[in-house]
Amino acid sequence: MSGDRKEVVKLLAEFSTIGMSVAFSIFIGVGIGYFLDHKVFAGRTSPWLTLIFLGFGVAAAFKNLYLMSRRKDL
């Protein structure tokens, strides 16, 4: 592959992860919160930790998007 093609393939591979990383970040946030709520604290804190970690998940998703959008080499 020539230099240009290689660069394009690399960027494609990197940016094809955006959608999935957004979705999975949110799901993992909710999962951790749900686990803490129902398994660690046995439902006493429900539903607050789930909501807080949902917020963390969304923040993680947007942080990844923000970092991708600020890349200098594009």
């Binding site: 290689k6 999935m20 799901f27 993680a60």
Partner: protein, 240 residues
């Protein structure tokens, strides 16, 4: 949904082994002879035997077989050296080249009737991804010692309680996205091929999907290789 005929499972069933009809069996023996395990061993055998048979004696002026393998190994090493530097490529080459070749052959093998892609089972791809994930963090600790924690804390000190869970979540999202992408693409290919063979196999309906399957197999193997390279090099460089 599985392929109609898996010849290894067929032979093993005739030998009296408890080949499971679902994805994973109940007992240890049934787990060992489930299709994705037996086909993984087939791919391993292929990758061990075929280079042994085709390589012949190593000579200074390469023959046909040696030339082929030199192009593949040289190409992989050049690709890795471009993305993570010569030193890193030298260190991580055995592991990553194994992953790339294994995933490539495992994806391609499902295109033949009677074979199945081991990577169309989430257990296989999750195992590969967990190895990459733990190696990333072992590399980080090896290169930075206890300072590796700075990778998780972000640039501003008073934002640490916010940044730490965010970074942890985005690291765990890597496991899911890496494993589910490979699994989803290959399982979609296998399922689509199975359905098309069943519906209109006599009229060559699966032919375009077979061509796309070759493309998807190569692209997914490359993407897995590239993303693990990126994760490794991110763990090796300094926190920003």
């Amino acid at each position: 949904m599985e392929h109609p005929i898996l010849f290894i499972s067929f032979i093993l069933e005739r030998l009296g082994l408890p080949v499971p009809h679902g994805l994973v069996g109940d007992t240890v023996l049934a787990k060992l002879v489930s299709p994705h395990m037996t086909y993984t061993w087939l791919v391993m055998l292929f990758l061990i035997l075929v280079p042994k048979l085709t390589l012949g004696k190593m000579t200074l002026v390469p023959g046909k077989g040696q030339n082929f393998w030199e192009v593949i190994i040289g190409g992989l090493e050049g690709f890795m050296a471009d993305n993570m530097g010569k030193e890193g490529a030298k260190m991580m080459f055995p592991m990553l080249a194994t992953f790339a070749l294994y995933i490539l052959v495992a994806n391609m093998i499902g295109l033949m009737p009677g074979f199945m892609s081991p990577t169309s089972n989430l257990n296989i791809t999750l195992a590969c991804t967990l190895i990459v994930f733990f190696t990333t963090h072992i590399l980080g600790v090896k290169f930075h010692g206890a300072g590796y924690i700075k990778h998780f804390l972000g640039p501003i000190p008073w934002l640490i309680p916010l940044m730490f869970p965010i970074e942890l979540i985005s690291h765990f999202a890597r496991i899911l996205s890496l494993s589910i992408r490979l699994f989803g693409n290959i399982m979609a290919k296998e399922t689509l091929l199975g359905i098309l063979f069943m519906l209109a196999g006599a009229y060559f309906a699966p032919l375009p999907i077979l061509c796309l399957g070759v493309f998807v197999s190569i692209v997914q193997a490359l993407v897995f290789l590239l993303l693990s390279i990126l994760y490794f090099s991110a763990a090796m460089e300094h926190a920003h």
